[in-house]
């Protein structure tokens, strides 16, 4: 069973008088445990594809299946449950909740999932240590650097061990050292926990870690190749 299956996806946005095809009859299968990198120039459709896979955006036509469940016809509540249980998100702009501390941000998803306080605390401390943020647990996002914030976002995305992690330009605001550390963390999770990663990026360094490169242009897949990761 595929971790992600997209069949004939179409999505058109209207910008002024112009229709822009973000997804143009796109189909793709991603198996469990794959480490996939989506690449395209700006406007190529990779973020739209990620949003469709994550149930954040509904395609105009076509089907999206996650872990054997068709999600493009689900209600908002069902999609929320699916994201909560199965998908970890890492966004380009960190996207932390500013009124919560680093630890509370990491615990947020687990709290919504209903995980017990002691377990949450234990896991959040462990994951923050794993991403190199030990000692910064009580800091709020405004008190951390961009790299630290992104690591908190990554910690939040992976702390509950989702089957699928979707990352949109996760290294766009990071320096090269932090980017490397982040990608090594992703690789470790992929290899040790069989977590499926789908990462949309321009970053050549990120592409080097991927086992599969999917190149997109104008909403279509133009190249789909396996490679040996770095």
């Amino acid at each position: 069973m595929s971790a992600v299956r997209c069949i004939d996806l179409c999505k058109t946005y209207r910008q002024g008088d112009v229709d822009i095809k973000a997804l143009d009859h796109l189909s793709v299968d991603i198996e469990k445990g794959e480490f996939v990198c989506l690449m395209s120039p700006s406007g190529g459709g990779k973020t739209t594809l990620l949003n469709a896979i994550g149930g954040l955006d509904i395609p105009d036509s076509g089907e999206v299946w996650i872990a054997g469940e068709r999600i493009d016809q689900m209600s908002k509540g069902e999609l929320a449950d699916l994201r909560l249980a199965n998908i970890g998100f890492v966004f380009q702009a960190y996207n932390l909740i500013p009124v919560l501390t680093a630890q509370e941000n990491v615990e947020f998803v687990m709290q919504v999932q209903g995980v017990r306080a002691a377990e949450r605390r234990e896991k959040s401390f462990a994951i923050l240590e794993e991403v190199g943020l030990k000692g910064l647990e009580t800091r709020r996002p405004a008190e951390m650097s961009g790299g630290q914030q992104q690591r908190v976002a990554v910690a939040r995305a992976i702390v509950s061990r989702p089957e699928l992690v979707l990352a949109d330009e996760p290294t766009a605001n990071l320096d090269s050292k932090t980017s490397t550390e982040l990608m090594e963390l992703f690789t470790e999770l992929n290899e040790n926990h069989n977590t499926t990663f789908v990462i949309a990026t321009h970053d050549q360094r990120v592409q080097a870690y991927a086992k599969r490169l999917v190149r997109m242009l104008d909403g279509r897949i133009v190249d789909d190749i396996e490679q040996h990761a770095a």
């Binding site: 954040l56 929320a80 449950d81 994201r83 909560l84 909740i97 500013p98 919560l100 998803v109």
Partner: protein, 409 residues
């Protein structure tokens, strides 16, 4: 429960994210709540006093009359109980107080003026519990017994009649045969009342003296009873009903003085309207605060939705935020109201405007009454209306599409 805790923590943190806005809104809610409760306490105090004064002067809590008396309060419609019979029926029944009185319309004439009045023939000892007159604060003296041959007028009436203590006036009414019943009285005292209209309307003579003048033997116009609380007269009413037969009519004070009865009901309605009016003014600020609070965190709402929080939880978060804001504002407003009303419970002198107040029966000293039911009413109404007013911004927040919200700049 865990979700409620999560939402509450988020709501509380977001509330204090913009301290200044929250403090301004809290101040508005607190002042609004204070105004609601303070005005309600003043009005409640005024109405309570009007009712208590009104009941003391006329109806007591329960009365008995001839069945025709309330329609035609003339000397023909009397309670045919003798003094002995009255004492037998009611003397040991355990009433807080009771009194039998003659009460008829009459004309009082001095050598210069005449005025229509209500003549009360009373036993001063029995009447003391009902009377608005402070027996010790009378110019001259008050009546000394049911056989007293003097008359006590209101100070204002004496002014109008251009008479004074020691002078004589003539009382004129009708006897049961519709013949003129009149008699000269020496003015022995002038009483003072909170309201000038009361001073102008009543004259007191001894009960037996009045009975003799009106040639009605030992019958009376009415017997009045006092219970513990004018708001709950049913125990007294039931007791009186059990002690009399169908030859008399037993009435609660609200039936005898429909104006006061209606006023008490109207007061509750007025307070509800007052609370709602204040809240409507507050609601603009509340809704604006919530709309702004939602607007400035659209991205974060999108993020929460993207992470798997359900729209209903977003709705709950905004509503909890609103309820917290209201609860804190109400608590401050309640405290403020308590702190300002308590020191004023000994009375506020409004004599400057007392003449105007008298037109609707209020006294010149207001005693604010902080009634816990009024506080609860205003708090509950504000919370319920606040909840309803918050629904719109909360609903809008929960309807955001995560992908659109998360990309908002």
């Amino acid at each position: 429960m865990q979700m409620f805790f999560v939402l509450s923590r988020l709501a509380w943190r977001y509330l204090w994210r913009n301290h200044r806005r929250t403090i301004v809104m809290l101040s508005a809610i607190a002042v609004g709540t204070w105004a609601m409760i303070f005005m309600t306490a003043l009005t409640r105090g005024m109405v309570d006093q009007m009712i208590v004064d009104g009941i003391s002067v006329i109806p007591g809590h329960v009365q008995i009359h001839d069945p025709e008396y309330l329609d035609d309060p003339s000397v023909n419609n009397r309670v045919a109980f003798s003094d002995t019979e009255l004492a037998t029926r009611f003397g040991d029944a355990g009433f807080t107080a009771w009194a039998a009185r003659v009460r008829v319309p009459a004309v009082v004439t001095s050598e210069r003026e005449s005025r229509g009045i209500t003549l009360l023939g009373i036993d001063p000892a029995a009447e003391k519990s009902f009377s608005f007159v402070d027996y010790d604060n009378v110019d001259g003296r008050f009546l000394e017994g049911p056989n007293d041959k003097g008359i006590v007028l209101g100070a204002k009436l004496a002014d109008t009649l251009e008479t004074r203590v020691g002078k004589r006036v003539v009382l004129m009414s009708q006897d049961p045969d519709n013949e003129i019943a009149d008699r000269g009285f020496r003015v022995v005292g002038l009483f003072h009342a909170e309201m000038e209209t009361t001073e102008e309307s009543y004259a007191f003579v001894g009960k037996h003296t009045a009975q003799n003048m009106l040639r009605i033997g030992d019958t009376v116009s009415e017997v009045v009873f006092l219970g513990e609380d004018y708001r709950d007269v049913e125990p007294v009413y039931s007791k009186v009903v059990g002690l009399v037969d169908d030859s008399v009519r037993v009435s609660r004070w609200t039936e005898v003085d429909t104006y006061l009865g209606t006023m008490m009901g109207m007061m509750d309605g007025f307070m509800l309207i007052w609370v709602i009016v204040i809240f409507l003014a507050l609601s603009f600020g509340l809704v604006n605060t919530l709309v702004m609070a939602v607007f400035e965190r659209i991205r974060e709402i999108g993020l929460m939705l993207a992470l798997g929080m359900k729209p209903s939880s977003i709705l709950g978060q905004i509503l909890i935020e609103s309820m917290m804001l209201l609860a804190v504002g109400l608590a401050i407003g309640d405290l403020l109201a308590w702190a300002t009303i308590k020191p004023l419970e000994s009375g506020i002198d409004i004599s400057v405007v007392a003449k105007g107040m008298e037109m609707f029966g209020a006294a010149s000293v207001l005693y604010p009454n902080l009634d816990i039911d009024d506080v609860i009413l205003s708090n509950v109404v504000v919370m319920i209306l606040g909840f309803l007013a918050s629904l719109s911004p909360a609903w809008r927040a929960s309807r955001y599409e995560p992908v659109e919200a998360i990309t908002k700049v």
